[in-house]
Symmetry: C2
Subunit: 301 residues, 2 copies
């Protein structure tokens, strides 16, 4: 086995992902599970981590650098939010050492904005990964997901950000509201998606009454489940774009996320006349964790 | 026991309510339970009904008239939707006799609108109850609830209606999203509610990003749970009002619902400069079921 330098961990609400990283930045081994923060009590994190590292064959001497909800108040240990004014290269300085750990486990802090109030945990590491490669970047990053983040950056410094709960609201409505009877699991109806994005962008208030029309259409005209799902997605993403118009209008947006999701956002932005470029979130998470690890593990204290 | 003329039943997705009605329109006995359509398979309805009627001491010779989701495709038996053009006095004609019943059980149909697609089940009976007393009414009825209905009526005839899933979306977000950590169960912050109604009415698109601010405010400033709940309610009701502005602007709205809910809607409409008058939904449901019963049980076939 190649020598493992550190283990990078992305520990969110609903999932755990770990990568054993070689000194050259290569991934030597990986593990993932559904053992997210939401399933663990504070005293469970240490054993959940060690079980995964044992499966990966990582020695006890290897340290861990983790980001995400593991550092929330309900996580392993709270890593207090840093201000958005903190330069990305300093994020590692806010790391907190996890208690009751069998090895060194550094948990990275999230970011907070006070006016208006907003927070992120995990996305700041992707942003740090992005800025590693483009340290003087100016523009807008969009990180779609359970809670989509829209981040305005000026010469490598975060100016402001906004959050849309689009992914979470989609999951609740598609899976738990009366619309669940009309929703398919697979497929994609690009025409229905684009029509819904346009409708929500042009008249954002209609979303409130259009949602039930998806159900009524299913009942009265037998509209197919794939169309219903794409229409719901379009209404919610269109609504998010209406709320963030000042950030993307006339801009080229950098989309950071899972490929399927960034594709849908790129399609929606294209409907709105904006350009977008996609980046893989996992790659940027690893780059951000590696930057923090270099700071935490190499620099003199 | 006063002679029971018929039993009125309001059988929704999540609740069952029955009233033994005397010939003079008085309520002789009542029962309610959580045995809604959502908990019952088609063959369970007959025994659930008889168990309640036994507790009420209603003889087998007494017929039942029921409205609500009991007549949906997933209910006891489907009572196909009538067109909104059907006069309210004729709703009883669309009733379907329930199979496998130990007595006569008439299930009332819902209403459908085809352009744009929309449906209701249960509310049509409240509307029929309202029109019993004001048969030549012209104006707008709003029936807030899990799925709020906005109904435009002209001289006693329904012209069009719209549905907002406000109650269901509120329940999902307050109870199941990340906002659940910030929500209180009780209390009411009228100032926070009104500010949110105004914000959503003036700039409907902000709702998409304001939702998460409720959570961030809780985390960063310790905003209280009662304020958070009132703000969420105000954003969603304000959003509904933005979507129905053409129906209430410059009108006096007739609000039909549970007293607490109609009070909140009246407060929101007042913020928007509209007048509202409240009616108790249960009273109108009983009036509508009684009108149907008179038609079904007295008129020659």
């Amino acid at each position: 086995m190649t020598q493992v330098d550190f283990v990078a961990v992305d520990w969110g609400t609903s999932s755990f992902r770990a990568w054993a990283m070689g000194r050259d930045g290569s991934v030597v081994a990986r593990q993932s599970s559904d053992q997210g923060m939401g399933k663990l009590a504070p005293l469970d994190f240490a054993s959940a981590l060690e079980a995964a590292l044992t499966r990966m064959g990582v020695a006890l001497s290897v340290p861990v650098v983790a980001c995400g909800m593991v550092g929330a108040a309900q996580g392993w240990v709270e890593a207090p939010y840093l201000s958005i004014e903190t330069p990305a290269a300093w994020f590692g300085q806010g790391a907190v050492k996890a208690p009751h750990a069998k090895r060194d486990v550094f948990i990275l802090p999230g970011l907070k904005q006070t006016g208006p109030a907003n927070v992120m945990r995990g996305e700041e590491t992707q942003i740090a990964g992005f800025l590693q490669k483009q340290p003087e970047f100016s523009g807008v990053l969009c990180l779609p997901g359970t809670h989509a983040k829209w981040v305005q950056v000026d010469r490598g410094r975060i100016q402001q950000f906004r959050t849309a709960m689009t992914g979470e609201v989609f999951g609740l409505i598609a899976g738990h509201s009366v619309l669940r009877h009309s929703m398919g699991q697979g497929g994609w109806d690009a025409t229905a998606f684009e029509a819904a994005v346009h409708a929500a962008l042009e008249t954002p208030e209609i979303v409130s009454t259009e949602l039930f029309e998806i159900r009524a259409d299913g009942l009265l005209t037998g509209a197919d489940a794939c169309k219903a799902r794409s229409r719901l997605s379009g209404l919610l993403i269109g609504s998010e774009l209406a709320a963030t118009r000042d950030l993307w209008d006339g801009q080229s947006i950098q989309l950071i996320g899972a490929p399927e999701l960034t594709r849908n956002y790129a399609q929606a932005l294209s409907c709105a006349g904006a350009m977008a470029k996609g980046y893989d979130a996992t790659e940027l998470t690893l780059a951000g964790l590696r930057a923090a690890a270099i700071h935490l593990l190499r620099e003199p204290a």
